[in-house]
């Protein structure tokens, strides 16, 4: 439990050793479809994507026109009927009630205030679906949270939620950790986001928001992100001797398999084995007294 987690390159995960009853390796649920994209919402990424899409569309249009020109020239040369000129493709309009919320520029006074207060510690600030997101540098998380809580114009008193996401396909980071702050007095919400690589230990938010205690333990339990200066960095939902962190993308949905312990058939044997193990840990050899 106490040794820090080794930085691990994303790729083939190691299967924990141990006898298993069923061979899940053959199970379809065991096959891990590693994500290929990095779905990290952000204004810059979105704009880049839109620009790339436009460029691709433009290139396609150019190619269609060029194709038409060559076809037309060819048809004229052969004296045939010229082909129809191409029509610029317009995006298909579907008649659903869906209005996909795209990221927008930060206009909310809170985000602007944060940007002015923190300067270059803010990596990105944008709005999406009516929610404010502020991505900050991972080293300055605690400072940002403290600013959000103590600043007279921000006053985000409560940490409502903390969660993390695993991005195995990303190059320079592995997890995004989000802190959803709520201002009870001003009725506003704010999302603070940091991106951390594998093995990096972000500072614990417990000193600013005591409610982060169990939430960070859950993040550690589920994703394997350890927090610096946390009062009790132990597993919370899984058993203490659990192997792996279930919410990582390389963890199979069905788990690693089932342990070969049958309490019904060999109860005394199991108890004996446990006793032997415990005694062995204490340096006692029960077999040869």
């Amino acid at each position: 439990m106490s040794d820090p987690i080794e930085p691990q390159a994303p790729g083939e995960p190691e299967v924990p050793a141990g006898p298993y009853v069923y061979d899940y390796a053959a199970s379809p649920q065991r096959q891990i479809a590693a994500p290929k994209t990095v779905p990290l919402p952000g204004l810059r990424a979105y704009l880049a994507e839109v620009a790339a899409q436009q460029a691709a569309d433009e290139a396609k249009w150019k190619k269609m026109q060029a194709d038409y020109e060559t076809a037309k020239a060819k048809a004229e040369a052969e004296g045939k009927e010229p082909p129809k000129p191409p029509v610029k493709p317009v995006p298909r309009k579907d008649d659903t009630d869906m209005k996909t919320p795209w990221p927008q520029e930060a206009r909310d006074p809170d985000l602007l205030r944060l940007q002015s207060l923190l300067g270059d510690r803010v990596e990105e600030a944008f709005e999406q679906a009516g929610e404010l997101t502020c991505q900050v540098k991972k080293e300055s998380l605690l400072e940002v949270l403290r600013t959000c809580r103590d600043d007279a114009e921000l006053k985000y008193e409560m940490l409502a939620d903390h969660a993390g996401t695993h991005y195995p396909a990303a190059k320079d980071f592995a997890f995004s950790l989000v802190y959803h702050l709520t201002s009870v007095s001003r009725r506003k919400r704010l999302r603070i986001r940091i991106l951390v690589p594998e093995g990096f230990e972000p500072e614990s938010a417990c000193s600013v928001y005591p409610s982060a205690n169990w939430m960070e333990r859950e993040t550690f339990d589920m994703l394997g992100v350890r927090f610096k200066d946390h009062p009790d960095m132990t597993r919370i939902l899984c058993p203490e001797d659990w192997e792996g962190h279930p919410l990582r993308k390389e963890y199979p949905v069905v788990g690693w398999g089932q342990r070969d312990i049958d309490f019904r058939d060999d109860r005394a044997g199991v108890l004996m084995r446990i006793a032997m193990q415990k005694a062995g840990q204490m340096g006692i050899n029960l077999k040869q007294p």
């Binding site: 779905p39 990424a45 869906m98 919320p101 409560m158 409502a160 996401t165």
Partner: protein
């Protein structure tokens, strides 16, 4: 010859009054609690992992199994979260019906809380009185969606079906009897000397500590903070409803009892408004048969009976299922306040404190 020793005792995970499989490690000096550590995870099923591998439609079924006494509130959070992710708005009639059913579920959940809390403190009869009314509500849920407990009542974009015939009449019948029944509980408990002795001043936690520990819901309102997500960040049809946020300044178990009773009255009021002002129209928005998300993340919170229930979704481009789903369970966060409430108090107060927090382990462990 004589030495004093602190007794370490495990309250749970198999214990009559830990409301499931909560385990609380207590160190006792006589009957006084010196230290308290809640231990959770005995009901962990990996709902978040499972939902990441189910489509947005399939994942909703799992939300019923989290806070199983308030499944409809969980459904509401899920469908509204997904709708926010996709930018869908449900029709007005659907939102009214959602509001009505969620409030009914709030009453059902509070009734179950009242029943078990009173039973924990030793008043056995209230338990059966509260279950009598809860039965009426479960019948209504059954009439609406065919299930009594794990309802999966709503659909993304609205409702699967309109209200069944006779539902309004049945609901009005419930509306008629419920205020009298509430009076009945109050005659049994509110001025009962022993009940007051067991609850007044017990398991106090003030507003600052509540906010620092993220405690929400009736516990926070009983500490005098009028924070209700139905008012602060209204969703469904709450913005059109006329209701109050009951608060008390005392921040003790008795105050929470009064706040929850008052909340039941307010819910009753909201249901009445929904029944009276139910608009006509479709109950389902036009949405594609296959929902494919864009890169987006949303955090949508609603006021569940226990507090702020939040869903955090991360969508990937063209994804049929959420890339990441996280649930901010109110009981999970509220339970953190337990040590603060009971350290230095008596063993019997631990039971009252667990009862007054109204925890559901299916939601804590997920």
């Amino acid at each position: 010859m004589f030495k004093s020793e602190e007794l370490e005792i495990n309250l749970g995970p198999q214990h009559p009054s830990t409301h499931g499989v909560l385990r609380v490690k207590l160190r006792l000096d006589g009957e006084v609690v010196v230290a308290c550590t809640p231990v959770i995870g005995y009901l962990h099923r990996g709902v978040e992992k499972i939902c990441e591998n189910k489509t947005f439609f399939q994942g909703q079924v799992w939300t019923d199994r989290m806070d199983y006494v308030a499944a409809i509130s969980n459904n509401l959070g899920w469908v509204e979260g997904v709708e926010k992710l996709f930018g869908i708005e449900a029709p007005r009639r659907a939102r009214y019906i959602r509001t009505m059913l969620t409030e009914m579920n709030r009453i059902a959940s509070h009734l179950l809380w009242l029943a078990t809390h009173a039973l924990d403190i030793g008043a056995m009869t209230v338990f059966l009185y509260a279950f009598r009314e809860r039965e009426l509500l479960l019948d209504l849920f059954e009439a609406f969606c065919g299930a009594r407990l794990t309802t999966t009542a709503f659909r993304i974009g609205g409702l699967r079906e309109d209200l069944p015939p006779g539902f309004i009449k049945q609901a009005r019948a419930f509306q008629e009897v419920f205020p009298d029944r509430l009076e009945e509980y109050e005659t049994l408990l509110s001025e009962n000397r022993i009940w007051k002795k067991r609850t007044v001043g017990v398991a106090r936690i003030n507003a600052e500590d509540c906010i620092a520990l993220g405690v929400t819901g009736p516990v926070l309102r009983a500490a005098g903070v009028p924070y209700d997500i139905r008012k602060a960040f209204p969703s469904a049809a709450y913005a059109e409803m006329d209701f109050e946020i009951p608060t008390r300044p005392e921040a003790d178990t008795y105050a929470r009892y009064l706040v929850r009773l008052a909340e039941m009255r307010q819910s009753h009021r909201i249901i009445q408004q929904c029944l009276d002002g139910l608009p006509e129209g479709p109950v389902m928005a036009k949405i594609p048969k296959i929902l494919k998300s864009e890169v987006n993340e949303v955090y949508h919170a609603i006021e569940a009976p226990k507090g702020e229930l939040g869903y955090y979704f991360v969508g990937e481009k063209g994804g049929l299922n959420p890339y990441r789903m996280h649930v901010r369970a109110p009981s999970f966060v509220n339970l953190q306040a337990l040590p603060k409430m009971i350290e230095g108090r008596l063993l019997a107060d631990v039971i009252a404190a667990i009862g007054t927090l109204d925890v559901v382990l299916g939601e804590i462990d997920r």
